[in-house]
């Protein structure tokens, strides 16, 4: 049996002082795309935050293994260098730090960590141009400060661009589809699909089924009140689309405490 790319074992986690995740189990193998769905406030972003090591989110029990190694022992930057990428639900604006300078620094930090040669400014520019065309992002956004003055859609494209450049082993996308128009949605989906490969895994967090029409998931999980209450194939997403999340609450209410 191969070691899973990502494994969560009975993960309990707090956001600040508040318990949010209440025993999450999840196994994701390289080559798989999993979708994580669930109503607002169910803990999807908390799960994502825990995976990328965001301060003020803490795992109180359980374990998370990345390629069989203890992920929780690693600082956020080391997780990134080991190959985890998070597309944030709300990317921050960083005035004064140019996108291109930041991304080359990040790429080279990752490459150094993985024992690959660094990319010089010239090659980086070429690489960047190629990926920007892929997400249909105007080139001047690269010279601008990170996300400063970007529209919501541009920010999301920028997240996908970063993902394409950094070529992670595990990509976690936190509602990258929310609030996007059809064009932007297509770009995001194409970006994700272009990265699909037998070595990579993806966890696509979404509130809506529509993204999953273009990014076909291997497994769909439903998170409710900090627990994965159902897992299944893509038909589960369609079922949710049809029935809404209402039945979950009933199911949760009926479940023994």
């Amino acid at each position: 049996m191969t070691t899973p790319l990502l494994e969560l074992r009975d993960v309990h986690a707090n956001a600040g002082e508040t318990p949010i995740l209440k025993g999450v189990n999840l196994t994701l193998h390289a080559g798989e795309v999993h979708a994580l769905m669930g109503p607002n406030g169910s803990g999807k972003s908390t799960l994502a935050s825990v995976l990328c090591g965001r301060p003020s989110f803490s795992v109180t029990s359980g374990e998370i293994l990345f390629e069989g190694k203890d992920l929780l022992a690693l600082q956020p930057e080391i997780r990134a260098r080991e190959g985890i990428f998070m597309a944030f639900q709300y990317p921050v604006e960083i005035p004064g730090v140019p996108n291109n300078h930041f991304l080359r620094t990040a790429l080279n930090a990752i490459r150094r960590h993985q024992g690959q040669p660094e990319v010089d400014a010239f090659d980086f520019l070429a690489l960047c141009r190629e990926k920007m065309a892929q997400v249909e992002m105007p080139e001047d956004l690269m010279k601008r400060s990170i996300n400063e003055g970007f529209s919501g859609g541009e920010k999301k494209r920028n997240e996908v661009l970063q993902m394409l450049l950094l070529e992670p082993k595990l990509a976690v996308l936190d509602e990258t589809d929310s609030g996007l128009d059809i064009d932007a949605l297509r770009c995001v989906a194409e970006g994700v699909n272009s990265l699909r490969s037998p070595e990579r895994g993806m966890l696509v967090i979404t509130h809506y089924q529509r993204l999953l029409d273009s990014i076909i998931p291997d497994v769909v999980h439903v998170l409710s009140d900090g627990r994965i209450v159902r897992s299944g194939d893509r038909s589960l997403a369609l079922e949710l689309e049809e029935k809404g999340y209402g039945w979950l609450e009933e199911a949760a209410g009926a479940a023994p405490a």
Binding site: C52, G53, R54, P55, Q75, P76, E77, R79, A80, R81, F85, M86, F88, P91, V92, I94, P95, G96, V97, H101, F102, L103, T105, A106, L107, A109, I110, H113, S145, I146, Q162, L166
Partner: protein
């Protein structure tokens, strides 16, 4: 606090053989002012935040540039940033011809003009900084034995900057009194960089005075770059006079020194005069950096825009006081002042005080000061992409400083400054 230590040195100073007679009188008079005033104390309003007793209690020694010194040469070479119109090096306050490249008539030293037989008292010398008001300026004049002398003739544009480098010879408790005289004549355009560097890791005291005249329609950028690496007391007095439709931009970069005090006074004396005062102070450890600026709008339609940014790491302490005076007939004045600060260290501190004295009614004046910390969300975002914490903090510090660096007129100098700022931020990131 005693001024005695300086008397002996004052009497022992042997001026240049070719020095003109007026120099002795000027020096004696200045020394009397210094002795009469003594070192300032914190009881004086202008010195409330800065205690100079450490300077007063140390017996400093004037170095005597004893020929070639490898560490001086290394420090001077290290300060180079690219092509210049002239590079003038002053060691212990005296011109060092072997390390310099003058631009005759334009960028030279007083001692060189004396040797060439011109012994008149040059333009702004002693006219702009009042030794009665500034004991440190009086002390500088008392030890005047040479000066950098810049004269940009009418209608002349210098494409490349003039680089002035001031350094003391290695030795215990060195003092030097750099003096800079700049005359930018009508409709000229130039950039002058005054660079202060260290040649040894020992305690030293640099006491500089700069006098600048900007003639009608002229455009001058003046960069004051304090980048001493040794434990340094640095006191600087800069005074400028800006004439009709002229523009002066000062760039004050405080990137080194344990105790730094800068006084900068700009007078806009005729209609349409403009000044831009940029400053960046980057403190680490227990450094204290005190910037006092004063702009006097003396005529109508003057513009002043001031932006001083502070980055304070460790337990450093920054002080910014910005005084704006608008005279009764200086109508249509536009005066802006901003002082954003970034506190990096847990023990870091900043005092920011604007002081507006507006005696005209039809003016636009604004000021603002802020104190903030690094955005933790931004740091996390950078880290989540693989950038280390130290590197992330440095990037954000650079971003904060960028506005000031970007306004510096020479690309080579901008690159050098950025490297310097990066190096300083990097070490402070690890420390705090």
């Amino acid at each position: 606090m005693s001024t005695l230590g300086f008397r002996e040195a004052f009497e022992a100073l042997v001026p240049d053989a070719a020095a003109p007679a007026w120099l002795g009188d000027l020096r004696r008079e200045a020394f009397q002012h210094f002795e009469a005033a003594g070192f300032p104390t914190r009881r004086q309003e202008a010195w409330r935040y800065t205690n100079v007793s450490a300077i007063a209690e140390t017996t400093f020694e004037l170095g005597s540039d004893a020929g070639e010194d490898a560490s001086v040469t290394r420090a001077v070479n290290g300060a180079a940033f690219g092509e210049t119109a002239a590079t003038l090096v002053f060691v212990d306050g005296r011109f060092a011809p072997d390390l310099s490249r003058t631009l005759p008539e334009v960028a030279t030293s007083l001692s060189v003009s004396w040797a060439g037989g011109s012994t008149g008292r040059p333009g702004p010398l002693g006219e702009l900084v009042d030794p009665k008001l500034h004991p440190f300026a009086a002390l500088n004049t008392a030890f005047l034995c040479d000066a950098a002398r810049i004269e940009v003739p009418q209608n002349v544009t210098l494409e490349k900057p003039i680089h002035l480098i001031f350094v003391a010879t290695p030795g215990a408790r060195r003092v030097h009194h750099p003096r800079i005289l700049v005359g930018a004549r009508a409709s000229s355009r130039a950039t002058v960089v005054a660079d202060f560097v260290s040649a040894s890791p020992e305690v030293s005291f640099c006491n500089a005075v700069t006098e600048i005249e900007v003639g009608p329609g002229a455009n001058l950028d003046f960069v004051l770059c304090q980048r001493e690496t040794s434990p340094t007391f640095h006191v600087s007095n800069l005074a400028a006079r800006v004439d009709r439709d002229a523009r002066l931009a000062t760039h004050t970069l405080c990137l080194g020194g344990n105790l730094v005090r800068n006084d900068l006074q700009v007078r806009l004396v005729a209609e349409g005069a403009e000044c831009r005062m940029n400053g960046l102070y980057l403190g680490t450890d227990r450094e204290r950096i005190d910037n006092y600026t004063e702009v006097c709008h003396e005529a109508p339609h003057g513009t002043s825009a001031e932006l001083y940014k502070g980055i304070l790491a460790g337990s450093s302490h920054g002080v910014f006081r910005g005084r704006v005076i608008v005279a009764p007939d200086a109508q249509k004045t536009d005066a802006r002042q901003q002082n954003p600060n970034l506190l990096l260290g847990a023990g870091a501190e900043v005092n920011s005080r604007p002081q507006l004295e507006i005696r005209a009614d039809d003016v636009k004046c604004s000021h603002g000061s802020t104190v903030g910390r690094l955005d933790e969300e931004a740091i996390f975002y950078l880290r989540s992409r693989g950038v280390g914490t130290e590197h992330a903090r440095t990037m954000l510090g650079q971003a904060f400083a960028a506005e000031i660096v970007d306004a510096v007129p020479d690309q080579g100098l901008r690159d050098a400054l950025l490297a310097l700022i990066t190096a300083r931020l990097w070490t402070t990131g690890e420390a705090s």
